[in-house]
Amino acid sequence: MSQRIVIDPVTRIEGHAKISIYLDDMGEVSDARFHVTEFRGFERFCEGRPFWEMPAITARICGICPVSHLLASAKAGDGILAVDIPPAADKLRRMMNLAQIVQSHALSFFHLSGPDFILGFDSDPATRNVFGLIAANPELARSGIRLRQFGQEVIEHLGGRKIHPAWAVPGGVRSGLPDQARQAIREKLPEAFSITRAAIGHMKTFLDTYRDEAASFGTFESLFMGLVADDGTWEHYGGALRVVDATGAILEDHVEARRYAEIIGEAVEPWSYLKFPYYQPRGYPDGMYRVGPLARINVCRSFGTPQADDELIELRQRGGATIKSSFFYHYARLVEILGALERIARLLDDPDLASRRLRADAGVNRLESVGISEAPRGSLIHHYKVDEHGLITQVNLIIATGQNNLAMNRTVAQIARRFVRGNTIPEGMLNRVEAGIRAFDPCLSCSTHAAGQMALDVRLIGPDGQELDRVVR
């Protein structure tokens, strides 16, 4: 008799989702689905607002990565004004995005996924959380909090507040970085570097400890997409989109923001509020692609900073030239933190930052514009249309987590096939399924532009819809 196991909601992710695992008559996994169960409707209620307000409005989509929305939106706004923003504004925006990558990646690794790595996937779920991590390894937990704090403080120095700074605006930024703030950031950099290097060391041991998981957590062929700089190096704010296949062959390159719709299509499924973007030329669902830390590392030639480039060589030695295992998202995330810190250090010495020209002034010069930035979780696309006065008439937001939707579903199915046997529900198995999702660090608040709470409710349901078993934690 075929059955369905439901994990609802999935824990230690940003947002609210459930997972259904379908078993066939033999008790083998036949399919699995990652359902996103929330809806907020930002794209609708932004209509009618002046586009100048969009960075601050869309930043409210998420409390973890408001900066990503702020920047993608401000870039789309630059396009409506049809301006090149002042160099200092461009560099300050970059610094804020790098700080955002540091703080969000630190949250993902230390707070959300750390408990799995340090305490074990089969450990007691009551303590398999950040508090358990603090009890088991207080120094590691504390260092994670400190690293996140570093990123948040850089954001605060720039934007005046850690969360939802309304600082990037169409045309540039509202304020510069005072000398004393620059010095304060400089003084905290060494600690951030040392925490990151230690975390990368831990990650390398986890790859050996969790060899089985590394091999089965979403290891499959897919396309990868991300921004790269003109010279092919790692990019997070400028540059243009590149798509590579599982062999590393470049399928698309130098795709500017305004052309995104030529390569990305969006499908919907009745069982999830999260859309399913796909690579248009390959159709749905064959055009599955991944975005985020792993994709950015797979699409770029190199990091362009010495320490991260050294780590990139080892990362590729362990994972392959084009890495297919989603478990490596964690590793890629840490190497990205290292590269981001190096770039912040470099920016701090940039004389352009002292300029007082921070904001280009212009009216409505284009009625349609697209802004893309790399959010911690992957490429973030804001597409606006406005009327002649600048009131929004249409919004399309393509969020990183949405773009990983097909891959997350594939990951869930793969892990379930490897670890689920029969119709009982071993807790550690369920946690592995969730951990597979956590590798992508999904932000469902962003992706559906929705918010939710986290807990775990697992249901085993027979083909007639009858509930056979249930585990709640």
Partner: protein, 233 residues
């Protein structure tokens, strides 16, 4: 001018004849909350925040003149409750979203809510779909944030002297309008002087291109303009 003697909160106060209770209270150091009142403009008693008890009856302090022997109470428990209710009703009537408002941090409505201890709204939000007009070259109007205080109407009429602004409709359908209810950018009378922006207590009127928390009004400048004109004769 004859002096009048009255009681404000039990204290004997002397006031000039023709003065309002609001002015007499202010001279006596008693601060009565207001929103539609703006120094330099005439008073209309629109917002009802300044209601006081006079001999047990409710009177707007901004439009009630003092009289001999008046017994005024400005901060009774009932009045405090009414004032909070008024602010809650203002929030419930339109789409006031401080988090993404151009005037956040510089808004008299927001400040008043904090001052009066409004930590939540007990009424159902009407959540109307109000339009935004940014057809003007320099300024914008968001009806979602308008509280119909009419300060813009009076500043335009009494200080600039062109009367571009007025109010059309009644009740919750009332809206500030320019000229014959046409887009602001098409107004033939507007001189783009910006006095309406100086006077606006919320984010309803703003500089075009303003982003969140960026719109600072300067209502005190209305009184400065009026006073300097008076001095020059």
């Amino acid at each position: 001018m004859a002096a009048k003697t009255l009681l404000i909160n039990g204290t004997m106060v002397s006031a000039r004849e023709g003065e309002t209770i609001l002015e007499a209270a202010r001279d006596a150091g008693v601060k009565i909350p207001t929103l539609c009142h703006l120094d330099g403009l005439s008073d209309v008693g629109a917002c009802r925040l300044c209601l006081v008890e006079v001999g047990g009856r409710l009177r707007p302090a901004c439009t009630t003149t003092v009289s001999e022997g008046m017994d005024v109470h400005t901060h009774t428990d009932a009045l405090k409750a009414y004032r909070r209710q008024i602010i809650e009703l203002l929030f419930a009537e339109r789409g006031h979203v401080c988090a993404v408002c151009v005037a956040s941090g510089h808004c008299e409505l927001q400040d008043m809510a904090v001052t009066l201890g409004m930590d939540h709204v007990r009424y159902a939000y009407l959540a109307p779909t109000c339009s935004v007009d940014i057809s003007h070259e320099r300024f914008g109007l968001d009806h979602n944030r308008c509280i119909l205080c009419s300060r813009c109407v009076r500043a335009c009429d009494e200080v600039e002297g062109v009367h571009t602004w007025d109010i059309a409709g009644r009740g919750t359908s009332a809206r500030v309008i320019t000229d014959m209810n046409q887009p602001w950018g098409e107004s033939e009378t507007c001189t783009a002087c910006g006095k309406c922006l100086l006077a606006c207590p919320t984010g309803a009127l703003f500089k075009r291109g303003a982003t969140v928390a960026e719109m600072e009004h300067a209502p005190a400048r209305i009184a400065m303009i009026v006073e300097s004109r008076r001095v020059r004769g």
